[in-house]
């Protein structure tokens, strides 16, 4: 799903430098990861791979990732002070620099609260990102769409129950990605939507006992003004 370039990809976006892939992309991975974790973490560990590991300090990838977890968007001047701000908020942080050539050149694992949640993402160029794993489940989340993330008991009819709720709202599903570990145990759904889901549909989803985790991630804003 490659996005076509627009005018504002060429005379924009407004970002914190110095690199769209190593800084802005890092911020976006941090931002999505923080939203997926869904609460203020006590601690966060970043495992940076390959080019992220080699050139990350010089590109502020470390501050970008942490700034994103703190909720700063790509144009937030606080990113530069992410270490100090994390300290003030009582969030401990740690970095590890690794090489794994089977991974994307700009790749990172974000580990919250000593392993309570582990999220992997790649910065794929020009500030575009992809979250491809959450707690071992495969996903494909890039923040261009409203995205619903579910982890639930693997049993017949779950996909139907969820999509039926969405369909009733005239909200179009742009793409959908399902995964599971073992039959009958847990499974995951990542659903990209063309428009936001109404609040009461989310409440209905929360009423389904077999769904263990629900995250509704809003799309990155297209307009900056």
């Amino acid at each position: 799903m490659e996005k076509t370039k627009t005018l504002f990809d060429v005379i924009g976006p407004v970002i914190i430098g110095p690199s769209s892939s190593h800084t802005a992309g890092a911020v976006r991975i941090g931002l999505l990861s923080g939203k997926i974790f869904g609460e203020k973490p006590d601690n966060v560990k970043f495992k940076l791979y390959n080019s992220f590991a080699k050139t990350g300090k010089g590109h502020g990838t470390d501050k970008g990732l942490l700034g994103g977890v703190l909720g700063f968007d790509v144009d937030n001047e606080n990113i530069k002070n992410a270490f100090e701000i994390a300290g003030q908020r009582g969030i401990k942080y740690e970095y590890e620099y690794l090489e794994d050539l089977s991974r994307h050149p700009n790749s990172v694992d974000v580990i919250f609260n000593n392993g309570k949640m582990e999220i992997s993402g790649d910065s794929v160029g020009a500030g575009e990102v992809c979250i491809n794993r959450i707690n071992g489940y495969n996903f494909n989340i890039n923040g261009d769409y409203e995205t619903l993330i579910l982890i639930y008991k693997d049993k017949p009819g779950m996909v139907y129950r969820v999509t039926a709720l969405i369909q009733g709202q005239d909200v179009n599903i742009a793409s959908m990605h399902c995964d599971r570990h073992d039959k009958g145990k847990e499974a995951s759904m990542g659903i990209c939507l063309d428009s936001p889901l109404p609040e009461y549909i989310l409440r209905k989803l929360h009423e389904i006992d077999e769904i263990y985790l629900i995250r509704n991630i809003e799309a990155f804003k297209q307009w900056q003004n």
Binding site: D9, I11, P18, G58, Y97
Partner: protein, 299 residues
């Protein structure tokens, strides 16, 4: 929706509708984004103001980057000009100052506008701000100039990736320079033909420019290159305004650039495996930074 994929399409639309290139651009974008021309101009204005803010902040600072490699070159130029020394007129001085101010804001993690990329962020703002100041032009003229720059970059990006890792620096600082050249001709009210010739002349002369950053950082040679390629844009605009034309039409120049980008060895496309990055000094700097940054951060 009118077809607008090539520069030939752009020139045709401009001629048939008897409109300036920026007008074609804003109407096209409004239709594409399903919004009004006013909203398009509003976002362009926001980006323009962010560009000017970066210049203002950059002119005040001499803080170095995390690596310590760059960050005080704009201050050195300012000092020279303060002492009344320069080979250049004030307008030319400002082109250099604004380009360095912006790209140095970028390396110290300031807020900049990727135009078209972060590593080439100084070129278009430097030319637009210095040239509009020179003739005391209003904000609308600046917006028209940035729209002109934008459509030039957008049409090029239809054919090739604006990324050093894919096409070398010709597609980053090179394209920024072509965008700035077109913007400058717009500021001085040149014709559509002159705008596209200015862009074509620039692209022809930066073709093959490699991306070989020392230690993989957006610093050496990127910082000074922004100043150089901003001046390049002025040279192209000067020639185009005199009626000098590119013998090879701009669409064909872009095709040639793409071919050159594909032929370019991967070691010269942002991988830091060749060129300046692997000179004796480049390698020493890389080694020193890697020693300095070896330890794991932990708080």
């Amino acid at each position: 929706m009118a077809k607008l994929e090539t520069f030939e399409d752009l020139l045709e639309l401009s001629s048939v509708k008897n409109k300036r290139i920026y007008e074609i651009c804003q109407e096209y974008e409004a239709e594409r984004f399903e919004t009004s021309v006013e909203n398009i101009r509003k976002q362009v204005k926001y980006n323009l103001e962010a560009m000017k803010h970066a210049i203002d902040e950059g002119l005040k600072s001499s803080e170095k980057s995390v690596s310590g490699l760059c960050g005080n070159d704009c201050a050195k130029l300012l000092e020279r000009y303060k002492n009344g020394k320069s080979f250049f007129s004030e307008t030319y001085q400002n082109v250099l100052l604004y380009a360095l101010a912006t790209i140095e804001q970028n390396l110290r993690m300031g807020k900049i506008v990727a135009c078209p990329t972060a590593g080439s962020c100084g070129i278009v703002p430097a030319v637009i701000k210095s040239m509009t100041e020179a003739i005391s032009a209003d904000m609308e003229t600046e917006i028209n100039a940035l729209l002109t720059a934008g459509i030039i970059g957008e049409i090029i990006s239809n054919k090739l990736a604006l990324a050093g890792a894919v096409m070398g620096c010709q597609s980053e600082c090179g394209v920024a320079s072509a965008m700035a050249a077109g913007a400058m001709v717009e500021i001085y009210n040149g014709t559509s033909n002159q705008i596209l010739n200015a862009a074509a002349l620039t692209l022809k002369n930066i073709m093959g420019l490699v991306c070989d950053p020392v230690a993989g950082l957006v610093e050496v040679p990127c910082v000074k290159r922004n100043a150089f390629l901003a001046i390049y844009a002025v040279t192209a605009a000067e020639m185009a305004m005199a009626g000098i034309e590119s013998v090879i039409p701009i669409d064909e120049v872009v095709d040639a650039m793409k071919q050159v980008g594909e032929l370019m060895n991967p070691s010269l496309k942002e991988s830091s495996e060749g060129g300046l990055a692997t000179t004796k000094t480049g390698l020493r700097i890389t080694q020193e930074l890697s020693e300095k940054w070896k330890n794991t951060d932990c708080v």
